[in-house]
């Protein structure tokens, strides 16, 4: 559980834009990604790389910082790793991941860089975004390809495009139906591999209502967080992913009842007429852990 940290929001900042880079971390996102991939034009890939490198080396950030490199099959991917690993990002985000081999390849490169730079081995992690049916088929393989893996994400727009359809708003129950199955499969793969699942960006800045619905849906599906590109989305996403006072209270009571039952050696545990079994206890612990990390709950002695 040690490598797990709060990643309710993962915010992107275009890597060639100093104004965005130096301000990305002030809005309270749990994780920030400096992007040298899709938000940077081909002509400026070299510029962006230098800027991100220097930003990582010179500035202090209050949260985790990842770098989204170009895929290693592009002319820039390996160079991105070569340039940027010495700047010690917290993780590398690989877009359009399709196989475990890619991850193992990157893992080796990171290991070598950590050695050469004297970084603690294993300190640089990997996050992968799945954006195609092939990637989805290999999701578990990708998620478990390296101990550096911390999360897999779904890249909604690209995924929908690869299905030769478009990302739709859908209805409040299923969201965009084209992503329905893909989202769940990502969660299955992530959970089996013991890592986090991150949902994709919601790009309509003006439609707050659909955003809230989509976040609620993906939380229900089991995602740990959602990517965003605009600070305005951060509060909304946090609100959905952060346990409410009611949920915290309930979790607390579940754990108390459980503790009592253990102490008294009673067989069946009940709360408010409902039977409490192990999955519920584990869930309650998780709720309190998230609430504590989010700063809305003061952890007492461990139960």
């Amino acid at each position: 559980m040690n490598k797990e940290r709060l990643r309710r929001t993962v915010m992107y900042a275009a890597g060639n834009n100093p104004g965005l880079i130096q301000n990305a971390a002030i809005y309270g996102a749990d994780s920030v990604i400096f992007d040298v991939e899709d938000s940077v034009s081909v002509a400026e890939k070299d510029s962006a790389r230098q800027l991100v490198y220097h930003a990582l080396k010179s500035l202090k950030f209050p949260c985790e910082i990842g770098v989204r490199i170009n895929h290693i099959s592009t002319p820039w991917g390996y160079k991105d790793l070569e340039y940027l690993l010495p700047a010690k990002p917290d993780y590398i985000r690989l877009p359009k991941g399709e196989s475990g081999d890619e991850i193992r390849d990157i893992d080796k490169i990171i290991t070598k860089a950590e050695e050469e730079c004297g970084f603690e081995p294993g300190s640089i992690k990997i996050m992968v975004s799945i954006e195609s049916p092939k990637g989805l088929r290999n999701a578990y393989e990708i998620a478990s390809a390296s101990p550096r893996m911390i999360a897999i994400a779904i890249g909604g727009e690209d995924f929908a495009a690869s299905l030769k359809t478009e990302k739709t708003r859908g209805n409040t129950i299923t969201g965009g139906r084209e992503l329905y199955v893909a989202r769940s499969m990502i969660v299955f793969a992530a959970r089996e591999a013991g890592i986090q699942a991150i949902d994709s960006v919601f790009s309509d800045m003006r439609d707050e209502e659909t955003l809230i619905n989509e976040v609620a849906l993906v939380k229900e599906l089991g995602f740990d967080g959602k990517s965003c590109v605009n600070p305005r989305q951060i509060d909304i996403i946090h609100q959905v992913f952060t346990p409410s006072d009611k949920e915290i209270d309930y979790a607390h009571r579940v754990l108390n009842v459980f503790k009592e039952a253990l102490a008294n050696n009673s067989g069946v545990i009940a709360l408010d007429g409902k039977m409490i079994d192990m999955p519920m206890v584990i869930r309650a612990e998780r709720v309190l852990a998230i609430a504590s990390a989010a700063g809305v709950y003061q952890k007492e002695e461990s139960i």
Partner: protein, 94 residues
């Protein structure tokens, strides 16, 4: 020691950025910097020195630089200068 092959530029005049325009110069010119900045009094000296230091650290001894900055922090200045140099050395990274 490296020799610049061509003129090159990097960066933009957007807020928080700096536009670096770099041109090769005859041996013995040294590193000359012309700076346009909204905070010339407060940071002019510092920025010019930073540009010279960065150019020198890349092994360049002679260059003419025109810089137009819009509130760029040091890390941005260093990055843009290095990118301009790489481009002037004929390396584009792709």
């Amino acid at each position: 020691m490296a020799k610049l092959l061509t003129a090159a530029q990097a960066g933009t005049v957007e807020s928080s950025d700096i536009l670096i325009m770099l041109a090769p110069a005859q041996a013995g010119t040294g590193i000359q910097v012309e700076l346009v900045s909204p905070t010339l009094q407060q940071y002019g000296e510092h920025i010019k020195n930073l540009i010279v230091k960065t150019v020198a650290s890349q092994g360049i001894q002679d260059a003419i630089i025109h810089a137009n900055e819009k509130g760029a922090l040091d890390y941005t200045i260093e990055a843009r200068v290095k990118t301009a140099i790489q481009r002037a050395l004929g390396e584009r990274g792709f």
